[in-house]
Amino acid sequence: MAAEFVTTIKATEIPVGGLTAIDVRGTRLAVANVGGTYYAFDDACTHEQCSLAEQGELAGATLTCTCHGSEFDVRTGNVLAPPATVPVKAYRTRVEGDALQIEV
């Protein structure tokens, strides 16, 4: 099935600097609000599968998985610091009206 934008929650439910887990069509994603822009990515840390929405600390666009200290750039999913070596998969987002939509 081709990727399409799926309506999820109200964008305003995630405060600036906040992180939330959302299930989208059976996939558990984490969404970060960085200065009013929303970034979505797989919720499971690529190191040992901790929930990034639950265990993550967000500072700007840098997300630290506090389980073991891996750092990711939420804008791209790229690894900024080990022990993770594999990027988290990132998803495109957009806001339609007040709805946060994520492309899955």
Binding site: Q55, E57, T64, T66, C67, H68, G69, P82, P83
Partner: protein, 407 residues
């Protein structure tokens, strides 16, 4: 002029230093020399996921094997340095090769402490440091077999957990009152004892091994108190000692490892040390510390590389480590010696707490059980070295990020 950089020790600290040298634009040779035959790898999985057979060895590699050649890092694996001659600027290897250097990093790590106990040379007695060690223990890990773990430091505790997770019967023997007693103290140690007891580990404390018995293979561990524990194999985890043999007569200052300043530099110009082997001056704690953990290997390896390039950046990282046991995530940050007060957020008798080691109102260190975020949030308070409001520290409704310092 291009410098010739030689790194002794191809483990996490040494490999990170080599990678950092290239990332930071070192011109000239970068030569990485290591005693182990395989490319540099990380050790944390060896007592946990790798030991349990949940991840392949490749996952533990610091970089893929091809990375080093691709980045013009020369490697000499499977050979140990036997001597360093600082005046001739030469390292001698056990295969008799001689490697000259302009700048040298000592990242030789440590080796497992051994004990002279009767029967210690019997088959079926293991220690854990290398991937080969882990493979030997893995081969013994069949559900229902009986293992004795000697020593309940971090390695012993993690191995005991992994053995239980694979369905083995586990008995541990430790001279202290609790697991992790030396680092974390009795109150916190008791919580770790409970964790292991809840997972079916039988623990013998305040006792030590008097003898391993068996004909060819160990079949029984006898303690000083006279207990006899039958087993199919044993794992001894009683700590490491820094690997400094090659430095004898080098003039490099040795005292509980290689003594370095906050710039990772030894008393000999152009010779640096990092990782488990480095007894480094820590400017935050105003004393020397030698740390045997993953994060220090990475961060100090990188810091040493920058200083090798003349950047002169003090290494002042707040030390931090994790220890996953069963489904519990234990983390520690900071550094403490005996403490005046243990200030606890949450309850030690629950499955989640943050315990802070406090001296003169300052947080020297903290340990968290299933409190990963709070451990991270308390690190700036540890680094600040100023007294904090202990009532607020104790109050779980107070976000640690907003904790007021006492002015």
């Amino acid at each position: 002029m291009a410098q010739r950089h030689v790194i002794l020790g191809a483990s996490l600290a040494g490999a990170t230093a080599a990678i950092t040298l290239r990332e930071e634009g070192a011109d000239g040779d970068v030569i990485l020399i290591g005693a182990e035959p395989q490319p540099p790898y990380e050790r944390p999985p060896l007592s946990k996921a790798y030991l349990r057979g949940e991840v392949p060895f490749d996952k533990a590699l610091v970089r893929p094997a091809a990375f080093y050649a691709e980045h013009e890092i020369q490697t000499m694996f499977g050979t140990r340095a036997t001597r360093i001659d600082p005046s001739a600027r030469v390292v001698e290897l056990e295969d008799h090769r001689r490697v000259s250097f302009d700048v040298l990093l000592i990242a030789t790590g440590g080796r497992n402490r051994t004990v002279s106990i009767p029967g210690v040379d019997l088959d079926g007695i293991y220690s854990l440091r290398t991937v080969q060690d882990a493979d030997r223990i893995r081969a013994e890990m069949i559900a229902g077999r009986r293992a004795v773990v000697v020593g309940m430091g971090f390695i012993g505790s993690e191995v005991a957990a992994s053995l239980r997770q694979k369905g083995l019967d586990v008995v541990v023997i430790d001279p202290s009152k609790t697991p992790l007693f030396r680092v974390l103290g009795e109150d916190v140690g008791r919580t770790i004892a409970r964790l292991h007891r809840d997972h079916g580990v039988r623990m013998i404390f305040e006792d030590t091994v008097a003898a391993f018995e068996g004909t060819r293979r160990v079949g029984c561990v006898v303690t000083k108190a006279g207990l006899r524990v039958e087993c199919d194999f044993a794992v001894v985890g009683i700590g490491i000692e820094p690997a400094v043999e090659a430095l004898a007569d080098s003039g490099i200052h040795i005292d509980n490892g290689v003594v370095v300043d906050e710039y990772c530099q030894t008393n000999v110009s152009g010779i640096y040390a990092a990782g488990d082997v480095a007894n480094h001056f820590h400017p935050v704690f105003d004393r020397r510390i030698r740390v045997e953990h993953w994060q220090n290997a990475i961060k100090q390896g990188a810091a040493a590389a920058r200083n090798m390039l003349g950047r002169r950046i003090a290494y002042d990282e707040i030390h931090w480590f994790w220890s996953d046991q069963y489904d519990a995530n234990l983390q520690y940050a900071g550094f403490h010696t005996p403490w005046e007060q243990l200030v606890v957020r949450g309850r030690l008798d629950s499955g989640s707490y943050l315990a802070c080691y406090v001296n003169a109102g300052r947080i020297d260190a903290a340990v968290g059980l299933n409190r990963a975020k709070e451990v991270r949030r308390i690190m700036p308070l540890i680094k600040a070295r100023r007294p904090v409001n202990l009532e607020q520290l104790r109050d779980e409704s107070v976000d640690l990020r907003s904790l007021h310092e006492i002015s």
